[in-house]
Each structure stands twice: as structure tokens, then as C-alpha cells.
């Protein structure tokens, strides 16, 4: 069970901002996410922010403790900038919801989980059986990432 994915305990629903998959047990944040620019120039009372691929996620770092939801937009599944956004936010200690939304495909979810995403709002619904196989497939990973997976070198050498 590489990811501990259990369809009975993981939300698979289309409620809450188009969220289909959620690997958290807190309440879904219903507040509409504001753009990064809006957040930075005036709406800093907002608790949900949306990051577009060209945005510098580091601008959020001073405010992370006030944010409950960061939605990272994937306009195209080919654009991988959002993976670095997720890593940067998690490395900075962000523990709130980190949502991948947009053109998110089932084969990308395991990689996104490793980068720290814990909720998913894909444009096209993801097939549950395929996802379960994908999340359970790899027992080992070579590198340390933002998830709890113990890297292979650590397993080898303790």
C-alpha cells in the first residue's frame, strides 16, 4: 500500500469546488480561492488562494499560517510547474490543503501525491479502479520527496 489509498476512507465526490479526491479528513474549504495578485495586494484576509503556472509561489511563504487552501492550477497536464509549487510550499512547512485542479490525469496523481498535493479537482473524472492500482503500484521510491515514503537509500542503509 504505497499511498495508503482506501476508497472507503478517501473522499471521492464532486462536491466542494469540483474536488473529486481528497486525502484529508478536515472540512472542505468552501471559500472561493482568490488569485495570487489579489491575495498579495489587498485581499489578504482570504484563506484560499489560487496559483497559476507562472506565479511565484514563494510570495505566499510569509502568509502560509493564515491560508487553509492553496489551489494549484494545471491548464495543461503537460505543464509541470505546479509540481515545484507543491514542493516549495510543503518544504516551507505549509500543512493546509494543497489542491491540484484542472487538466489532471490519473497517471499523474501518484507523482502529485509525492509532491505534497492532498486534494484533486480534475476536469475529467478519474476512474477509481485505475487510480487505486496506480497509487498501490510502487512500494519503493528512490528519492525523498514531500510524502512520507522512505527513500530506497534510507532502506538500504538505515
Amino acid at each position: 500500500m504505497a499511498d495508503g489509498f482506501d476508497p472507503d476512507q478517501t473522499t471521492m465526490t464532486d462536491s466542494g469546488g469540483g474536488v473529486q479526491l481528497r486525502f484529508r479528513d478536515d472540512e472542505v474549504n468552501e471559500e472561493p480561492a482568490v488569485t495570487l495578485d489579489s491575495f498579495l495586494i489587498g485581499q489578504s484576509n482570504a484563506t484560499a488562494v489560487r496559483i497559476e503556472p507562472g506565479d511565484d509561489a514563494r510570495a505566499l511563504l510569509p502568509s502560509l499560517d493564515r491560508i487553509a487552501l492553496i489551489e494549484v492550477s494545471f491548464p495543461s497536464f503537460r505543464d509541470g510547474r505546479g509540481y515545484s509549487v507543491a514542493r516549495i510550499l510543503r518544504e516551507a512547512g505549509y500543512t493546509g490543503e494543497l489542491r491540484a485542479s484542472g487538466d489532471v490525469l490519473v497517471d499523474q496523481v501518484p507523482l502529485m501525491r509525492r509532491c505534497g498535493f492532498d486534494s484533486f479537482a480534475p476536469e475529467a473524472p478519474i476512474d477509481g479502479d485505475t487510480l487505486r492500482r496506480a497509487l498501490d503500484r510502487y512500494d519503493f521510491h528512490y528519492q525523498r520527496a514531500a510524502d512520507a515514503s522512505v527513500p530506497v537509500w534510507k532502506r538500504r542503509h538505515g
Partner: protein, 543 residues
């Protein structure tokens, strides 16, 4: 040689299962071709002009006889009896059925091989020096470091959707046999105060905008290497251009912001990621290094050799290189017979090379970026027997680094991107210069042909380079002079207007005739070109 442990094997086996699942979903129509494409590319499967092409990884170009025989088996069972060794030290099979691809991956996984990241916008197979572990001039064997990088880059979650492909080479000698400076990242192992570390270059590449890399760090210790590479890749993943596929390689980013600014951003990122515990302990490098320990060379292997057979003597002088261990030699097996397809080998030839490696070369083979094979550790006393066996299957061409040792991409005969046919042109050039004495008189002359601007045939780095273009529906060939992928790295310059296929062969002959006229002393072609410049050659071609 690196040997898989249970973790390596589990990861490769899981990949086979994953890819089988992806192919099944594609064939069932659950995925569009557009969605499937990046998935199959991450596994080395291309849709070419006539069929699927499967590219199997040969990490840092090293394989054993068992793996080599498996490649012969794949050629027989799933292809048309041959395979094509590539400029990334891999092998590709050009006539594959999509439905067979998962079975092929399952077969090669049994002998510790895979096709992971041999294509796609991710970190590709790590390339290295084909003489690693055998060359006298290396500070260390570069392959343990290449293996560390292979593991770090395999299914890296953050760097599997990069702006564009990403190529890394690791070498450990001043003589650059791996075109290291033309990689997105080049790593040269160096000694500093008794410690082995990595000098890092970034921003090199070929393609339509060729660039030579910049040194961005003079020394990275083994304990910092993964963090440093993580920083290099993160800056690229965040800021590399995604608006234009032709400007998406890291070389363009570094060109646009400057090497100093890139270095500054990498250092800043490195300072942050270094705190995350990404680097394996020294024990991991030691574990891998132990697997690359030198084989049990005989301390007193005889060094005399009977040169009475003139053909054998010619091959010795051209294709056999000195080994660090007295009494041993490095054998280059040319896959460039006159009139053949550069880099192709039949299943029977593959088997013969595997047998020779097992019997005479401590069970090791190497694939070179020049599309030849190396038997790295041959006893001098066995050279004649090896040559005899190679000659029997047409693998004893004595043309290493000569004008007929041509690098050529598959071109329009196979590739859906190509504008022109590279293979027939390579054959014509080799036939024009077939006379072995004439080739040797011309000396080292690296000729490289690409069938389109993507430069898979490394034409920018050829002493003589040829680029096939489409000119109003007709194949046209541009000629370049003065490139080099070695430690004297340089980019070739176009001579002038292009030629027809026969015209470019004539033009090359005018170039080599000019070289013979104006060369001084033992000057190589490329040295003469650098001394006298383009003019005399241009005059001879167009004048």
C-alpha cells in the same frame, strides 16, 4: 557492473505492470492518443513513420553478455532481426507492435533492464565515457556517480513534466569521450584536496540552437550532489520556457538570463533544499562503487603481440586503445561497415559480441555515443582471437574515428520528424571514401549527419557535419565544418548554400582534398580548419 537489489527489481517490475495497464487503457479507448503520448514516451515508445519504435535504456552505456544476448533475442522475436545503437548509448528497435511492448519490457526486466525515461520531457538515460574503468586518464570510474544520478532521476516526482527533455553526462577524465559539454548538465569528476567531487556544467545542447555549456560550479562534494542537481532542475522546471517547444531546453533559459544569474538562483535554491535530507549517505556511493571494482586483471599478462597479419595490424592501430592495466587493451567494435547502416547490428552480431565479452572481456560491453561497441578489458594475448571472431561476422572494420565512422540519425527512412534521409547518404559517403589507405591518410575525421534540425545525428559537433533540410519538397543537405564534441568542443559553421545528396558527397571530397593540400605536419582535419578558417574550403566547394 551494477547489480539490482530487491528495491531496484521491484521498481522495474512495477513499471512493467504500470505500462501494461497504460497500454491496455489506450487500446480500450480509455485514453486519447494525446494523453497516452507522454506516458509511452516516458517509456521510450515512439510512433514512427511505419511502426512503433522502442528504445531500451543502457545506463551509462554499460551492459553484460546476458543483457546483450537479450537484445539479440528481442531483435529476433519482436523486430526484423536487428537493432540500432543510439547516440545516447541506448538501443532502439524500429519495428515494434504496441501490443508487444509490455511483453518486451517484462522480458528485459528479468535481466535488469528497462526503457524508463528513454524519451519524453524528463531526465533521460545518463550517459558516460565508454572507456570508464579501463582508461588510464580517469580520476575515478564515473559510473557509480552516474548510477546515483540514475536512481535519483528515476520517476522523480517533481521533474517528470519538465519543459523539455533533459540530458546528463558524467565523465571523469580531461579527454571528453561523451560530448559532455553538449549536455543540459555535464558532470566531470575531479579531485580536490584528495577528495573526489563533481564539476558541474549546464546549458549545453544541440538541436536547432546549439550551445556549449557553462561551468556553474567548480566542485560539488558527493554528499551534496543530489541536492545540487535538485536545485539545478527546480530552477529549470520553474523558469524554463514553455511557450515555444523550440525554446524550452535549459540552454535557452541560461542564454536568456545568463550563466551568472542561473548560478545565483541555483545556489539560492541549493541552500534551501540542502536542509531537506535529500542526499544519500556516503555508504550508498560506496555500495555502488564496490560493484564497479576493477575486474581481476592478471598482474603479469603478456604485452607482446604478433603483428604479422597486415589486416590485423591495421585494426590494432585504428580500433584498439591503451588500457590502464599493462597486458590489456580496449577494443572498439565498429558498427560502421562500408555501405552499412551506422549503429545497426544484427541479432547474430549481437550474440557474437556477447560471447566475446563473456569469454574475453570480464563479461562487459559498452555502447558508445558514436554508435559503436566497446569490449573494455581484452588481454593483449587475446586480441587476435577477438579480431578473428569479429571479422567472421563483418565487425572488424578498422575505421574508428575515420571518415567512414559516421554518426547518423535514422532519418526519413524511419523518423516522423525527419526532412531528409541520413542513412543512404552515410552509405554513399562511406562508399566514396571506402579505400582504407585513403581514410587513414585523412586521419581523425568525425563526420556526423542529422536528417533534420533536431540534430540527433550531432551534426553541429562533427568535424564535418551534414544537416538534411526540406527545400520546397526536395531533400537538401547543408554542410558544416569545424565542430567537435570532445574536450576541444566547438560548433560547426555552415559552408554556404546546400546540396543535393550526390552534391554533398562531392563537396565533402573537395573539402578533404583541400585539407590534404593545406595541412601541415600531423595536423588533424579540424586543426587545419581552425588554423586556416573557412575560406580555402569555401573556395574549393563553391569557387
Amino acid at each position: 557492473m551494477y547489480k539490482y537489489d530487491e528495491y531496484d527489481q521491484a521498481i522495474v517490475d512495477a513499471r512493467v505492470d504500470e505500462f501494461r495497464d497504460q497500454v491496455r487503457r489506450r487500446l480500450a479507448g480509455d485514453m486519447t492518443e494525446d494523453q497516452f503520448k507522454p506516458l509511452r514516451l516516458m517509456n521510450g515508445l515512439y510512433l514512427q513513420l511505419h511502426a512503433y519504435m522502442l528504445r531500451i535504456a543502457v545506463p551509462y552505456g554499460t551492459l553484460d553478455s546476458r543483457q546483450m544476448r537479450m537484445l539479440g533475442h528481442i531483435a529476433r522475436k519482436y523486430d526484423r532481426g536487428y537493432g540500432h545503437f543510439t547516440t545516447r548509448q541506448n538501443i532502439q528497435f524500429n519495428w515494434i507492435k504496441l501490443s508487444d511492448a509490455p511483453d518486451i519490457l517484462a522480458e528485459i526486466a528479468k535481466i535488469e533492464m528497462h526503457a524508463i525515461q528513454t524519451s519524453g520531457n524528463c531526465i533521460r538515460n545518463i550517459s558516460s565515457d565508454q572507456y570508464a574503468g579501463a582508461a588510464a586518464d580517469e580520476v575515478a570510474d564515473p559510473r557509480p556517480w552516474a548510477e546515483l544520478v540514475r536512481q535519483w532521476s528515476t520517476f522523480h516526482p517533481e521533474f517528470s513534466h519538465l519543459p523539455r527533455k533533459f540530458k546528463i553526462a558524467v565523465i571523469a577524465a580531461d579527454e571528453d569521450r561523451a560530448a559532455m559539454r553538449l549536455h543540459d548538465i555535464g558532470i566531470q569528476l575531479v579531485m580536490r584536496d584528495g577528495e573526489l567531487g563533481a564539476k558541474i556544467f549546464a546549458g549545453g545542447g544541440m538541436g536547432r540552437t546549439p550551445m556549449i555549456s557553462h561551468e556553474i560550479r567548480d566542485f560539488v562534494a558527493a554528499d551534496d550532489l543530489m541536492s545540487y542537481l535538485e536545485a539545478c532542475l527546480r530552477v529549470y522546471n520553474r523558469y524554463g520556457r514553455r511557450d515555444n517547444i523550440y525554446k524550452a531546453r535549459i540552454k535557452i533559459l541560461i542564454h536568456e538570463i545568463g550563466a551568472d544569474e542561473y548560478r545565483r538562483q541555483v545556489e539560492e535554491e541549493f541552500a534551501a533544499v540542502k536542509q531537506l535530507g535529500l542526499d544519500p549517505p556516503r555508504a550508498e556511493l560506496e555500495r555502488i562503487t564496490a560493484m564497479f571494482a576493477a575486474p581481476a586483471f592478471a598482474a603479469d599478462a603478456p604485452t607482446d603481440i604478433d603483428r604479422s597479419d597486415p589486416d590485423f595490424a591495421v585494426w590494432l592501430d585504428q580500433n584498439v586503445k591503451p588500457h590502464k592495466q599493462p597486458g590489456y587493451a580496449i577494443v572498439n567494435v565498429s558498427l560502421k561497415p562500408i555501405g552499412g547502416i551506422p549503429g545497426d547490428a544484427s541479432a547474430d552480431q549481437i550474440d557474437v559480441m556477447a560471447d566475446l565479452a563473456e569469454r574475453y572481456a570480464f563479461d562487459e560491453l559498452r555502447v558508445t555515443h558514436a554508435q559503436n561497441i566497446v569490449l573494455p578489458h581484452i588481454r593483449v594475448a587475446d586480441l587476435k582471437a577477438v579480431w578473428d571472431a569479429l571479422a567472421e561476422v563483418g565487425l572488424a572494420e578498422a575505421n574508428l574515428d575515420l571518415i567512414s565512422d559516421i554518426i547518423a540519425c535514422p532519418g526519413l527512412d524511419y523518423c516522423s520528424l525527419a526532412n531528409a534521409r541520413s542513412i543512404p547518404l552515410a552509405q554513399k559517403i562511406a562508399e566514396r571514401f571506402a579505400d582504407p589507405a585513403r581514410q587513414r591518410d585523412l586521419g581523425e575525421l568525425k563526420l556526423k549527419i542529422s536528417g533534420c534540425i533536431n540534430a540527433c545525428g550531432h551534426h553541429h559537433a562533427g568535424h564535418i557535419g551534414i544537416l538534411g533540410v526540406d527545400k520546397k519538397g526536395v531533400e537538401n543537405f547543408q554542410l558544416l565544418l569545424g565542430g567537435s564534441g570532445a574536450e576541444d568542443v566547438s560548433l560547426g559553421r555552415i559552408t554556404g548554400p546546400g546540396f543535393s545528396e550526390d552534391g554533398v558527397v562531392d563537396a565533402i571530397e573537395r573539402v578533404t582534398d583541400t585539407y590534404i593540400k593545406v595541412r601541415e605536419g600531423g595536423e588533424r582535419f579540424v586543426d587545419t580548419y581552425r588554423r586556416v578558417g573557412m575560406e580555402p574550403f569555401k573556395e574549393a566547394i563553391y569557387g
